[in-house]
Symmetry: C2
Subunit: 337 residues, 2 copies
């Protein structure tokens, strides 16, 4: 059963276990600081497919396949899959996962999808509805850039606050019991909009949602940043991380010493020309599943907060002059050594 | 707790209750057979807003507000909201629901969203994670048509198999206990693609998913069509309903005598020039919440199957020559008199 702690936080009585995980990344990611972490790297941005969109679908297939293999499961063993991505109508997920023949619940949380999917997969297991469920998400620089901003051929100048969409995917298998990282608590975020309308400054748009979810989690659980080995954010990047520190400071919360942002880890900001860092569902997804889960299993970290943020606008809403509402979902993961 | 019956069906031990429901519709819907059923009708397709997209967000607000009022709840009482729509990045939901300040989990199931949202809201209540949760969905002819097909000004000729996107919204409040319609069982669908690629024939694309989910449900529960007072589909329309009958016939299942399709109910197909019927998330959403739930409460129906289908393609995937994968989610609702 699930219980509520405080006002907004869920506690998993039986702590579902992440028994499998998988990650896929692209060429640029393979040249960054995390090059040795990913399960699979595609050096061709079409991954042998006809289109970037089909390549992204393939990333989801590969990430899920790796996760299944690690959990020693076949797709028949998976009761539900929660998946989503950045593309219109989440086509990376629907086309990518079709062949697995698993009951499918499409999620839309923009770049927060890895946390949202992990929460839903864990809720389904905890509720008794599933023995085994999965989540998967992805993003692709080429498919995202041309959908959200400009044709790739245009070669638009990027602003210093712009982030680079990660080409990659991450997937987790969640089971009722087994060996692995435990899902202990979760806080589902509310939609927050502080009036940022610059499509090239997603970090600033998402930071207020992150600050809200994190402070609510700390209040609900009566814990503080130093209780955790690491506090991971999805893709706030350089600008968004700074905004988050500033916003948390007004609440008297300081996470600087144990905060890591996946968007700042996956690329070398000095050398890789990615401006404010990485972004996209595949950023938090691939970094969680290639770096943090293995680090928890090896004993480097034991008590971790993983929070992914998403900006919930569309090019249509932006062109109509609307600002960018955002959301942040948080999961507390633990490993026992 | 949730239990599994058979291979794919969930049974809700404590049967969460739909304690509130609300529906909103547009002008064309107000001229159809269901004109007296809706809670609120907007005769202006912009509903006083600047854009069709903002109008659609307003529909979600109004549908949720009606549902909250019927359940005698305020937004503060709602622990989670599950919402989604047809627009890119589900902006009707994110912009529409922002002001309610409810923890938000975006869903993408295309036209199956009403069933998906209702399942997830019920799972969250059954799991103990929520005392009260909500779901809401919407569609708008003008925002959908220009995003999926042609600019409205183009006035394209419609094929006989084309469906007319419903302008409307539906919302349910689900609680642990109370007076109302009970959520008893659910079957989450798998992604099915039988190779239909005609964007103007969604019914045919979705029918195989509906047939699969329905036959799995009957197998799992060892029940048959005549055990139910009515079997509701979301928006198969004229073509899709016929396809569903044909597909079910090969399985020896006949639902003709107690099948109703929301897409065939909301418009007068002879008089309203809608070709094969209504479609869109708002079709199943508004018909469930304006007609079937009230009919269950009045005692007209007691044991009902509500199954909404969704086509999971995007204009991008269609233009890239891909076919249309679909999904169907089913909920068994009961009322006790």
């Amino acid at each position: 059963m699930l219980h509520r702690i405080g006002k907004f936080t869920l506690e998993f009585e039986n702590t579902p276990v992440i028994t499998g995980y998988g990650s896929v990344a692209g060429k640029k990611e393979s040249q960054g600081p995390m090059k040795d972490c990913f399960d699979k790297i595609y050096f061709d941005s079409r991954a042998g497919q006809d289109t970037f969109e089909q390549a992204e679908s393939l990333f989801q297939q590969e990430a899920l396949s790796c996760a299944l293999k690690r959990a020693d499961k076949s797709s028949d063993d998976v009761d539900f899959i929660f998946a989503g991505d950045l593309l219109n109508q989440c086509i990376s997920s629907s086309f990518g996962l079709m062949g697995f023949n698993i009951p499918y619940l499409g999620q839309y949380g923009a770049c927060s999808t890895m946390a949202q999917g992990l929460i839903m997969a864990s809720v389904m297991v905890e509720s008794g509805g599933a023995d085994c469920s999965a989540c998967v998400t992805s993003s692709h620089f080429c498919s995202a850039e041309r959908q959200y901003r400009f044709p790739l051929e245009y070669g638009g100048q990027r602003t210093p606050t712009a982030q680079w969409t990660v080409t990659g995917s991450g997937s987790c298998i969640v089971e009722k019991q087994g060996k692995g990282v435990k899902v202990c608590r979760a806080t589902v975020g509310k939609i927050v909009d502080m009036g940022i309308s610059d499509l090239n400054n997603m970090g600033a748009a998402m930071a207020p949602a992150a600050a809200k979810t994190l402070t609510e989690y700390f209040k609900d659980t009566k814990t503080k940043p130093s209780d955790y080995d690491v506090i991971i954010t999805g893709d706030l990047g350089k600008v968004g991380s700074k905004c988050l520190y500033d916003l948390l400071e007004t609440e008297g919360v300081d996470i600087k010493s144990n905060h890591r942002d996946c968007g700042l880890m996956i690329f070398d900001l000095e050398k890789q020309d990615v401006h404010a860092g990485g972004s996209g569902c595949g950023c938090a997804g691939s970094v969680l599943c290639s770096k943090f889960i293995p680090d928890m299993l090896s004993g480097k970290y034991q008590n971790v907060l993983f929070m992914a943020t998403g900006a919930l606008m569309s090019p249509t809403s932006s062109m109509q002059g609307q600002t960018m509402p955002s959301v942040a979902h948080l999961v507390n993961l633990r490993s026992e050594q």
